[in-house]
Symmetry: C2
Subunit: 149 residues, 2 copies
DNA sequence: CTTTGACCTCAATATTGGTTGAGGTTGTAC
DNA sequence: GTACAACCTCAACCAATATTGAGGTCAAAG
């Protein structure tokens, strides 16, 4: 036997409720709305009302931010979610899979950086011309300003 | 027999030279100076002159930024370098070792995040209450706003 | 009813990490 | 000795990601 709680189903959320349940400030919710990341409708008295789906959306936004995706890109990705119906698990999976690549890249970059840094710690090579961490900007300067390789 | 190149030893650098050799814009060098990350003295005609050590310092700044250290913290760390003499390999090593910790933490955090995301991709759990990625903000909301755990 | 907390809008402010431009000076190459 | 690139200062601006505040409205409890 399954009891359905009227609090959990069908009831629109106020901005304060969304803020409390999502851990995001009211001002941030306004901001996300202005940027097109979440949608609302208005009550008779012009107050924002949120579909419960917004909680999932906000959770996804926060995860994406942790991955390092800028809000603009998050907005683009979210805008590809189906219009009119609630996203399914499959929809969310597609997003996750997409961002996993970014995450992997970032982990890879940082790992490479750490390995180079380890070499520097081992040999003190931040003080040596041949150091791979500091050298690209120096010996290749004849190729013009800015980083090379 | 070792030839010492007068271009490489003892000659002060202009801001343009530092910019070209470090791959950092002149405006950024001014900015770093204002923030106390690098030092200069002035020529008779009020133009900046840089000790060659500044190249190493700038390289270190750029590495630290890649690690994700904000300029303020970089400034703090650099301010602990010895005053009056050029930093030794040992000095730079201490810095590297310090920042290695941050880097490892960040790699760890992102790796944990990736593992959680993998679970989400596998099970579609971004749509499920129990999901470790989206849940903290929801079921723990009675502890007050903001992330928990 | 009235009060009080939650909500509204819009503009200003904050932080980080710089870049751009105006208006003027210096230094070097011819 | 003059032209032109490189330099100077200072203020304004940029983008991202919000927060804060002023001034006003709404809604639910007593």
């Amino acid at each position: 036997m399954t009891l359905i709680n009227a609090d959990d189903i069908g009831k629109a959320l106020t901005v304060g409720e969304v803020a409390e349940r999502s851990g995001v400030a009211v001002s941030a919710l306004h901001f996300y709305e202005k940027k097109g990341l979440i949608q609302t409708w208005r009550s008779a008295g012009n107050q924002r009302r949120y579909h419960r789906d917004v909680l999932r959306r906000v959770a996804v936004i926060k995860v994406a931010q942790r991955i390092g995706i800028p809000l603009g890109e998050i907005a683009d990705a979210l805008s590809e979610l189906p219009d009119g119906r609630s996203p399914t698990a499959r929809d969310w999976k597609r997003l996750s899979a997409k961002w996993r690549g970014h995450l992997n890249e970032r982990i890879h970059d940082l790992t490479v950086l750490r390995d180079q840094l380890d070499q520097c710690i081992g040999c003190g090579c931040l003080s040596i011309k041949a150091c791979r961490l500091r050298n690209p900007y120096d010996t290749l300067s004849e190729e013009g300003p800015g980083p090379h390789i």
